[in-house]
């Protein structure tokens, strides 16, 4: 499927409310965090989509809110989509998808330590690389470290 067909096909699933396409090189979908888990399961199990590979999980700090970004591809069809979910900055929470894609388990741990996003029902939500006593979320825009960083 090309991007147009893919867009139509995924839109026809009419998943929840308040989601649509954003701009970018890859086909993007904005979703509500509460719909993410069901949407994810659908993307993976639908035989015509078969998104069996979650190749990037990241987060963006917009100062007003956080955005979780998931990059998905299919090893059989080779099509790619990007799914974005807007999170509350004060209390960022989203369902884990590590039961759908096993790789999310450590990807989500990384976002947990760098941005402080809480992944609900994650089996092992610990820090991944930072030391256990590290304070703060270093990739947030308001992170301050007067010992190691100079303010520009």
């Amino acid at each position: 499927m090309n991007n147009e067909e893919l867009k139509e096909h995924i839109n026809s699933l009419s998943f929840g409310e308040g989601w649509g396409e954003a701009s970018g090189d890859w086909l993007c979908f904005n979703i509500e965090p509460k719909d993410w888990k069901r949407f994810a399961k659908n993307l993976r199990s639908n035989p015509e989509l078969n998104f069996d590979y979650l190749f990037c999980v990241t987060c963006v700090d917009w100062k007003t809110h956080l955005t979780m970004v998931y990059h998905l591809t299919s090893t059989s069809y080779r099509h790619v989509i990007v799914v974005k979910a807007k999170l509350d900055r004060a209390n960022p929470e989203i369902e884990t998808v590590c039961d759908t894609w096993r790789t999310a388990e450590f990807h989500e741990r990384e976002q947990y330590e760098l941005f402080g996003v809480k992944f609900l029902n994650h089996p092992d939500l610990r820090r991944l690389i930072l030391t256990d006593d590290f304070e703060g979320f270093p990739l947030r825009k308001d992170f301050e470290d007067p010992v190691n960083m100079i303010k520009l």
């Binding site: 690389i129 030391t131 270093p138 992170f143 470290d145 190691n148 960083m149």
Partner: protein
């Protein structure tokens, strides 16, 4: 009387060779000959933390070949290494590992800081929560090589500079105490 074959005594040999019947007599200072031997057999530790490591491997390989100068072979254990080339960024989590490797090396041991990251934290990553701003915050450094990454020739120059430093016969502490001390001709 047999003539001494000049080709068998390298010019850099710190001493004199007197030909006498039945064999030659070598005159030198023990300190000098120890430093001469040390400087010509400096085995580096296999240690690289980022892109400078690729350049260091290039210096070890056939085209540049640091074996020509006595850096014979990179050792995979600090127990057998004489010099550690810090090739790459040192992050806060790596710092204790670097310190430990340095402590495990047998004396005499030498350190070369290769590239901008090892000197000062680097051109890109210095203003972050995770990077050590120069490897000399963790262990003492003998020779610094500028570059990002330095050319293989630059690293070779640094290695030869280290040899000159060793041949000059002082420890880095002694060199620091004597800022007016001039290094031998052609060195550094």
């Amino acid at each position: 009387m047999e003539k001494v074959n000049k080709n068998t005594v390298p010019e850099s040999f710190p001493g004199q060779v007197h030909p006498v019947p039945g064999g030659d007599i070598v005159l030198t200072k023990l300190d000098d000959i120890i430093n001469w031997a040390r400087s010509n057999s400096l085995w580096p530790l296999t240690f690289a933390t980022s892109c400078c490591g690729i350049e260091m491997m290039s210096v070890a390989s056939a085209k540049y070949d640091f074996s020509r100068f006595g850096f014979e072979v990179a050792r995979a254990t600090p127990r057998q290494a004489d010099v550690i080339i810090i090739a790459g960024t040192i992050v806060n989590k790596m710092a204790p590992v670097l310190k430990r490797l340095y402590d495990q090396m047998a004396d005499p041991k030498y350190v070369i800081a290769m590239g901008a990251c090892a000197i000062s934290g680097g051109p890109f990553f210095y203003n972050t929560y995770s990077v050590v701003k120069g490897a000399d915050h963790v262990i003492p450094v003998d020779v610094y090589v500028a570059g990002c990454p330095p050319r293989p020739e630059a690293l070779l120059h640094a290695l030869i500079s280290l040899q000159e430093k060793i041949k000059s016969g002082m420890t880095r502490e002694q060199i620091k105490e004597q800022p007016t001390q001039t290094l031998p001709k052609g060195g550094l």
